[in-house]
């Protein structure tokens, strides 16, 4: 087997380094956002390192049970969805070691990876046999499908706008100040994509999938111990990876780690702030919301381009 042209073995080490940075950033940032949500309700909230302790605790549990092969594979699919999304998108524009494995058609692959984890989880949670898992999965799949529609349309719109499906080229076209960002050059596509962003971050008003009060707690009901730890790892990586995609497509990317940290945090705060002040949509309400408000904006974005 001959490696791809332009491939160097050192890239694997670089990618692992990026993964390490993003994992730690994700663990700290999600804890910080939880602290902010706690401050909104007048509490101090969890310690900032709580996610690390929970992760170690879950790996340290002594007993675990399996419901079958797919149950076992569910968290693995979920985690590979998060890592795959991260690794095929350049994290930092212009920084050689944070380019990961981006290539000509990576935008399509990124769209696929956004959905991949959900599908893997659906298979795994389905095999656990718990009714709450099945309800959560059916809600999750229908809501995610509806929420992804505006994103897909927005992606087509900017693919037409920039004449490429290559994320590094899209980022390169946005360099040179805020006036070049897709946010300014194509606001409709950005708005359509933000519908999908808020809709898939598992926060209120779109958190009926997990719904801790009514179907405790949806798809991961049966997951525990190391399975749970894998899913927690993904919960740190995946939102950051998804935010990186949005940052690259619509907000000019990041040219250093500080800019990356600030932009991802600012973007992540959007669903968090919407979440702390809004009650939960039922699944048919959220689907109707996306079809009524998200989809027309996406269609309009394509028509305008």
């Amino acid at each position: 087997m001959t490696p791809q042209p332009g491939f160097q073995w050192i890239q694997i080490l670089y990618a692992l380094a990026t993964l390490f940075v993003v994992l730690n950033y994700g663990l700290l940032m999600t804890a910080l956002v939880q602290k902010i949500a706690a401050r909104v309700s007048g509490r101090h909230g969890i310690p900032i390192w709580q996610n690390y302790v929970d992760l170690v605790k879950n790996f340290a549990l002594r007993s675990q049970i399996s419901h079958g092969v797919m149950y076992y594979m569910g968290p693995i699919f979920r985690l590979s969805g998060g890592i795959g999304l991260l690794l095929f998108v350049p994290t930092i524009y212009g920084l050689p070691w944070a380019q990961n494995f981006s290539f000509a058609g990576d935008l399509i692959l990124a769209l696929y990876f956004v959905f991949f984890g959900t599908l893997g989880m659906a298979l795994g949670a389905g095999e656990s046999g718990h009714p709450h898992s099945a309800i959560g999965v059916s809600r999750g799949l229908s809501q995610t499908t509806a929420a992804e529609l505006p994103l897909a349309l927005a992606v087509y719109a900017i693919a037409v706008q920039y004449h490429t499906l290559n994320i590094p080229q899209i980022v390169a076209a946005q360099q040179g100040g805020i006036a070049h960002w897709t946010l300014i050059t194509n606001p409709l596509a950005t708005i359509a994509a933000m519908f999908a962003y808020v809709g898939t971050m598992m926060r209120a008003p779109f958190d009926v999938v997990l719904a801790p009060q009514e179907i405790p707690i949806g798809p991961p009901t049966e997951y525990h111990s190391a399975y749970m730890a894998l899913m927690q790892t993904n919960r740190a990586i995946f939102p950051v990876a998804k935010t990186v995609v949005y940052m690259n497509l619509f907000f000019g990317g990041a040219s250093n780690w500080l800019e990356f940290a600030l932009k991802v945090f600012a973007l992540y705060l959007i669903p968090a702030i919407i979440g702390v002040v809004h009650p939960r949509f039922r699944v048919e309400q959220s689907i109707r919301f996306f079809l009524k408000w998200g989809l027309p904006v996406g269609v309009l974005a394509i028509l305008v381009v």
Binding site: G42, R43, P47, Q50, V53, A60, R62, S63
Partner: protein, 230 residues
């Protein structure tokens, strides 16, 4: 004094018939196949719990114990009046999240079962099921006098008096009812126990499994589940 009073429960040796939905039956599937369904065998695992050894190196075990102590996930399972004392812990006034205490809605992900007050025989059955579904190491806190000696229900015909006989209790919080501050103090004590490696309730349960089961079955008359159900 025995836990279930003879005066109130007549016909103690009467066998309770299995509920209809738990009886074995044959079902014809949509494609014409005949399959035998045995709910007690199909839905549950009958493997007895195992004693799980500690980590090989003491320093690793200490590290794990530190993590377990600082990440207590409570099962949202409320029995009796104490459940109302647990809720304020989530509110700004007490805010137990500061100490790494969080609530989980499913027994699979929880480590700490709080029996928050009197336990009727009917609820004991559910408490046992919830406890057995939790993954070890797992801890039990008995909250209030009712779990220690029956409290004000000491002569009730249908509540148990000593929780310790049915589940391995790591810690009791005395009072009727203890205030949320007492609960927080209890969490701190439990953390000390875990960090010292003394909270091995799951292993104790596995070691003395026969004793615990005999005690549980002596009060639960309609035992319609396998001996060990996860």
């Amino acid at each position: 004094m025995k836990d279930i009073d003879e005066r109130f429960q007549k016909n103690r040796d009467r066998t309770v018939p299995l509920r209809e939905e738990l009886r074995p039956r044959t079902v014809t599937t949509p494609d014409g196949q005949e399959i035998l369904i045995e709910p007690l065998k199909d839905y549950f695992c009958e493997a007895a719990p195992k004693v799980h050894p500690k980590a090989y190196f003491q320093i690793v075990e200490n590290f794990y114990n530190w993590a377990r102590a600082n990440s207590l996930w409570i099962l949202g399972f409320g029995t009796g009046c104490g459940a109302i004392e647990m809720r304020p812990l989530m509110t700004p006034r007490f805010d137990a999240y500061r100490y790494g205490v969080q609530w989980r809605p499913t027994p699979r992900q929880a480590n700490l079962l709080i029996i928050s007050g009197y336990l009727s025989v009917k609820t004991l059955k559910r408490a046992i099921r919830a406890y057995e579904q939790m993954q070890g190491p797992k801890y039990v806190i008995g909250l209030g006098s009712c779990t220690i000696n029956g409290g004000m229900y000491w002569d009730s015909y249908n509540t148990i008096k000593r929780l310790d006989a049915y589940l391995p209790v790591d810690l009791y919080i005395a009072g009727c009812m203890p205030r949320p501050e007492a609960l927080l103090a209890g969490f701190m004590e439990l953390k000390k126990l875990i960090r010292a490696g003394k909270a091995e309730g799951a292993n104790k349960y596995a070691e003395n499994f026969a004793t615990y089961k005999a005690a549980q079955k002596s009060v639960i008359k309609d035992w319609d589940m396998p001996d060990y159900n996860w």
